[in-house]
């Protein structure tokens, strides 16, 4: 048996990008522009997939020109600490390069042909928006990218990237600790695909579907919100982990501060969230509270008989209401339509707030990489965007994608990757067997139903408290689910089979999560101001690292890296590439108009 006989389709390429989102597209585009053969696989359709599928409004994690890079990095680390408790959760070197190249990445986006609609202040410069959580801290820039996915997709096609839509990753192929390609599944044709690649750039997004969505699954609608369910099954994380990549911070769940009862109607980038001019928290009688909403505060109000609690925009002036309309039209246009159907005027409506539960993973979690974004344990595997540890939101996704795409020719040359790797047919037949098994189990369980059971384990047995005995029972339940259903999911048509592969990844990541939770009593009860129940100061700067080694899961608790000397020793006003030049050009542009 050889590759040609087992694979329905076989490809060979320089660079394989897994995931066509706002990290994958820049990486693929850059690599192609630099003369390499690039294939990008996306399980949905690149033009409208991932977290930015409907558009994105504002761009997070931007360094302000004139503020030393070191300060930005320190602030960025501090922000994670405020979400997750004491300690440093992120490799500062990654923060450094992401900030350093943020404006360079914006320029590349322009070259890509992305439509950038800027909001400018009276001085003609692009507006910085205060971080909603930290008052005067300005690290978001006011830009509207309604059609960012469409633009990035077109740019990739134009640059010669071979974009394969509706293709789902099964597993990575490896040879002696280096990644050499991947096995995939065509979710329309039902075919088995092998892609040989010299480098794999993992850009498949984060994980959240081991938890229920922000809004719980009522009735039959399985993917109520969750931001972008397609991007949240942790496919890339699971495949990377199974292949030997190291993951970090998989003990820390996350949530937004509060849930809006009419949330289906509100986009993520709703302007009054993002620029410090908040909606007001009020109780039914109109008494107002500080704009930090936590489960603890909600519980206190509940005890005092002051709930329900609401968030209102009624104090915002007319221009502000218009800005909200524009932001909604740019980031989730359907919200306008659904709000109208629902029958309320947002200028007058009070959005009911309900206490939040964990619904995804920390932004600090993901594949462990150094500041070149290469995996520390699996050579040739790069991680960009939300899937990489320490990266989150659109700005760093684009920046990391551009950095890695740019670095590809040099990397391939220096690693002497002239030829494709030698495939181990066992890895190929194992992947094919997975697909064949699901395809021939028409009386198997519904994969989405199995996913719901896995999520239930998170809700009841993990939650933010992660009590040891509950974890043990949760582990038992996961064991029995795995024994009974992992290999017995109904994949009797390609759509369902895709869901089987997703649930496989979700279950694998649930196990990683439980293992991490067991190991870190001090990260229990730890999100949004809950603080740590069992904090061990000696482990404040230590993180939970997990990988597969010789078929066995390995867990280590180690220190997070320090900022490297070359960055520590850089001058206080170390420049952020392009920043001033960029602002000057924008100013000229606004003067021309």
């Amino acid at each position: 048996m050889n590759l040609q006989s087992i694979a329905d389709r076989l490809y060979e390429t320089d660079v394989l990008v897994v995931g066509g989102g706002t990290a994958g597209c820049p990486a693929a585009w850059k690599a192609a522009k630099n003369g390499l053969d690039v294939i990008m696989i996306e399980k949905n359709h690149t033009a409208r997939s991932g977290h930015c599928a409907q558009g994105i409004d504002t761009n997070l994690n931007f360094p302000r020109p004139g503020v030393p890079l070191k300060l930005h990095v320190a602030d960025w680390q501090k922000r994670h600490h405020m979400f997750y408790g004491e300690g440093k959760f992120c490799d500062p070197n990654i923060g450094w390069v992401t900030f350093e190249k943020a404006y360079w990445a914006l320029k590349q986006m322009e070259d890509m042909g992305c439509e950038m609609r800027w909001e400018k202040g009276p001085d003609g410069k692009v507006l910085f928006i205060p971080n909603m959580f930290f008052g005067g801290d300005e690290n978001q820039i006011a830009v509207h990218w309604r059609n960012i996915k469409r633009d990035m997709y077109n740019a990739c096609l134009k640059a010669g990237v071979k974009v394969l839509n509706r293709i789902m990753l099964i597993d990575l192929l490896t040879e002696n600790g280096r990644v050499i390609g991947a096995t995939c599944y065509d979710t329309r044709e039902g075919s088995f695909i092998v892609i040989m690649a010299k480098v794999v750039i993992m850009a498949a997004g984060p994980l959240a579907r081991t938890y229920d969505s922000e809004t719980p699954m009522f009735y039959k609608y399985k993917y109520r919100y969750h931001g972008a369910p397609g991007a949240l099954s942790g496919d890339g994380l699971a495949a990377a982990y199974r292949a030997g990549a190291e993951l970090v911070n998989m003990d820390i769940g996350n949530c937004w501060f509060y849930r809006l009862r009419d949330d289906i109607l509100m986009p993520i980038g709703q302007v009054f969230h993002r620029d410090g001019v908040n909606g007001r928290w009020t109780d039914y009688e109109g008494n107002q509270y500080p704009p930090i909403a936590t489960a603890r505060l909600y519980a206190e109000l509940e005890e005092a008989g002051k709930t329900p609690v609401f968030l209102s925009q009624t104090h915002l002036n007319e221009d502000y209401q218009k800005r909200i309309e524009v932001a909604t039209a740019d980031e989730r246009m359907v919200s306008l339509k659904l709000s109208e159907d629902r029958g309320f005027n947002p200028a007058e409506h009070r959005y009911e707030i309900q206490p939040m539960h964990l619904h995804n993973f920390a932004t600090a979690c993901g594949i462990v990489v150094d500041e070149t974004f290469e995996s520390n344990t699996l050579k040739g595997l790069f991680a960009v965007g939300d899937i990489a540890a320490a990266l989150s939101s659109c700005g760093p996704a684009v920046t990391s994608g551009m950095i890695v795409g740019e670095a590809m020719p040099e990397y391939i040359k220096n690693a002497h990757l002239d030829k494709q790797g030698n495939v181990d047919m066992n890895q190929i037949t194992a992947a094919k067997a997975i697909v064949d098994r699901y395809a021939s189990t028409p009386d198997g369980c519904n994969p989405i139903e199995l996913e719901a059971s896995v999520r239930y384990i998170s809700t009841v047995y993990i939650s933010q408290y992660k009590q040891a005995n509950k974890l043990k029972v949760g582990q038992q339940r996961l064991n029995s689910l795995r024994r009974e259903f992992y290999d017995n999911m109904d994949g009797s048509n390609p759509h369902h089979l895709m869901r089987c592969l997703e649930t496989r990844n979700i279950m694998d990541m649930q196990q990683v999560h439980i293992d991490a939770c067991f190991s870190r009593p001090e990260t229990r009860g730890n999100y949004t101001w809950q603080g740590t129940w069992e904090r061990d100061p000696a482990r404040d700067d230590m993180l939970t690292y997990q990988r597969m080694e010789n078929g066995k899961p390995v867990l280590e608790i180690r220190h997070v890296p320090e900022l490297k000397e070359k960055y520590v020793n850089s001058p206080d006003d170390a420049e952020i590439e392009c920043a001033d030049l960029y602002w000057d050009e924008l100013k000229k542009e606004s003067e021309r108009k």
Binding site: S49, G50, Q54, L338
Partner: protein
């Protein structure tokens, strides 16, 4: 019965944009008519992409009772 998506087949031209772009792959194309149909209705997350991308505005997206 009411679902999240309603297609007005008088307006639909069978361009397949909804089928191509849906990030949850809830559509199929009917082999005989060439027209799109929602088959995985319970996987819809009301992203509105089909609604806003349809060149003939033939798709209506509705809040079903459980989303209300």
């Amino acid at each position: 019965m009411m679902g999240p998506i309603k297609i007005d087949y008088k307006k639909c031209i069978g361009c397949k944009k909804c089928y191509d772009l849906c990030p949850q792959d809830i559509y199929v194309i009917d082999k005989e008519t060439g027209m799109p149909k929602v088959v995985y209705e319970d996987e819809c997350w009301l992203c509105g992409i089909c609604w806003m991308e349809c060149p003939k505005r033939a798709i209506d997206i509705r809040l079903t009772a459980c989303f209300w």
